[in-house]
C-alpha cells in the first residue's frame, strides 16, 4: 500500500471492523439484558396483574399527592394488564410497584456495569 498514511488506514479499517463487531455484540447483549429484566416488572394486586411502567408509577404518585393535597380518595378502579377492572388502593399499589421497580432497575444497573466492562468472551463468567 502506498501513500504516507497507507498502513495507518489499513490498521484503522481493521480496528473499525472489530470495533463494529464489538458494538454489535454489545447492542445484542444490552437488548437481552433489557428483556430479561423487563419480564420481572409485573406485580399481583387484588387478583389483578399490573405491569409496572412509568405511566402506572406516575399515575399512582399523582393520586397519592392529590390525596395529600386535596383530600381526594386513594381508592379507585383501574384496569390491569388484561383489561380487568380492579379495585385498588393507590397507596398500597404504589408501595408494591415502587419496590418492584427499584429491585429490577438496581439489578439491571448492576448487570449493565458488568456488561460494559467484560467485553472479551474469556472475561465473561458466572
Amino acid at each position: 500500500m502506498t501513500g504516507p498514511s497507507g498502513p495507518v488506514i489499513l490498521s484503522s479499517m481493521e480496528n473499525l471492523e472489530s470495533y463494529a463487531r464489538e458494538r454489535f455484540e454489545l447492542a445484542r447483549q444490552k437488548q437481552t439484558l433489557k428483556e430479561q429484566q423487563q419480564q420481572r416488572l409485573t406485580v399481583t394486586y387484588n387478583g389483578g396483574l399490573f405491569r409496572v411502567d412509568m405511566t402506572l408509577l406516575n399515575y399512582l404518585y399523582m393520586k397519592n399527592v392529590n390525596a395529600g393535597l386535596f383530600q381526594q380518595s386513594t381508592e379507585c378502579i383501574m384496569p390491569d394488564s388484561y383489561d380487568t377492572p380492579i379495585e385498588i388502593n393507590c397507596e398500597e399499589l404504589l408501595k408494591l410497584c415502587d419496590a418492584r421497580w427499584n429491585e429490577v432497575h438496581n439489578d439491571w444497573h448492576n448487570e449493565y456495569q458488568l456488561l460494559k466492562t467484560k467485553r472479551k468472551a474469556g472475561d465473561v463468567e458466572v
Binding site: R40, T42, T44, R51
Partner: protein
C-alpha cells in the same frame, strides 16, 4: 374456607435418546424452590410415536419426541391451580408465581424470544409461515385453573390433535410432526373467540438448539451462541427454556443446577 391447592405439573415420556425423567426431576426441583409450590411429575405412555429433527451446533439429530398427551394435563393435574411446564423449562425466579390467584382460567405465551438475539423464532409468530393472522401460542408454560373454560380449551386441544391433518390444511402448516404449540394455538383461539387475549405479558425466554449453556452459577447462565460463523458468550439471569437439552444433562452442569437450590 377451603384453601385452593396450587402446584407445578411436568409431563414426560421415555425416549431412548434422551433421559426426560432426569430433566423433569431437575426442572421440578427448581420450580418448587423458586415458586414455593409443590411439583408433580407424571409419566405419559405415548399413544403414538412422534419424531423430530433438531439442528445442533455440531449437526442434525432426529430423536424420538413423544409430546402427545399434553392435552390430558387438565385431568392429570392434582391441583386447583396448575403451572404446566416443559421438562426443559428451568424456573429461576418467582415471576410465574404472580399468576397463582389471578383472575384467569388459562394463560400461555404468545411469543418466544431468543435470548441470544438471533431471532430464531421470528417465523413462529403466526400459525402459517408468512403470516395468516392467526397468532401462535406456546405450550411450553401454561397456567390454568380447574374451571369450565380451561377444561374446554384442553378438550379443544385434544380435538385438534384428533383432527390434526384437517386443521393443518385449514391453517396452512405442515401436518408432521405433531406440534402441541399449533394444537394449543388453535384451541386457545377458538375458545377465546379468536381474540389475542389471556397470554403472559412477556415473551417466553428460550435458547435455541444451536446455542448452548456452558456454565451456571447462582441463577446466572453462561450461554455460548453462534452468529454467522463466530461464537460469543453472554450471561443471562432468569427463567429459561433450554431447547438444547443434551447440554443440561451433562454431569457437571446438571450437578450445578441440582445443587443450586
Amino acid at each position: 374456607m377451603t384453601l385452593k391447592s396450587k402446584g407445578v405439573l411436568l409431563l414426560y415420556s421415555e425416549s431412548a435418546q434422551l433421559d426426560y425423567k432426569r430433566l423433569a426431576d431437575i426442572a421440578a426441583r427448581l420450580a418448587e424452590h423458586y415458586l414455593d409450590v409443590p411439583a408433580a411429575i407424571v409419566k405419559l405412555d405415548p399413544v403414538q410415536k412422534n419424531i423430530r429433527t433438531f439442528r445442533y451446533d455440531d449437526g442434525l439429530e432426529t430423536i424420538e419426541w413423544n409430546n402427545i398427551g399434553r392435552y390430558s394435563a387438565y385431568e392429570l393435574s392434582p391441583y386447583d391451580e396448575t403451572l404446566l411446564i416443559d421438562t426443559d423449562y428451568f424456573v429461576q425466579s418467582d415471576t410465574l408465581a404472580n399468576y397463582f390467584g389471578s383472575d384467569h382460567d388459562f394463560v400461555c405465551h404468545n411469543s418466544s424470544w431468543d435470548i441470544a438475539g438471533n431471532e430464531v423464532f421470528r417465523h413462529d409468530r403466526f400459525l402459517q409461515n408468512g403470516g395468516n393472522g392467526f397468532e401462535m401460542r406456546w405450550a411450553t408454560v401454561c397456567y390454568f385453573k380447574k374451571s369450565e373454560h380451561a377444561k374446554r380449551i384442553f378438550n379443544a386441544w385434544h380435538m385438534v390433535y384428533e383432527n390434526y391433518e384437517y386443521y393443518s390444511k385449514l391453517f396452512g402448516f405442515t401436518p408432521t410432526p405433531f406440534r402441541n404449540d399449533f394444537a394449543l394455538s388453535i384451541a386457545h383461539q377458538i375458545c377465546n373467540g379468536y381474540a389475542n387475549t389471556t397470554t403472559f405479558d412477556y415473551a417466553l425466554p428460550a435458547l435455541s438448539t444451536t446455542d448452548s449453556v456452558i456454565d451456571y452459577n447462582d441463577r446466572r447462565w453462561l450461554i455460548k451462541y453462534n452468529y454467522k460463523n463466530s461464537h460469543n458468550v453472554l450471561r443471562y439471569t432468569g427463567d429459561l427454556h433450554v431447547m438444547n437439552k443434551r447440554g443440561v444433562l451433562d454431569t457437571d452442569l446438571h450437578n450445578k443446577l441440582w445443587n443450586s437450590v
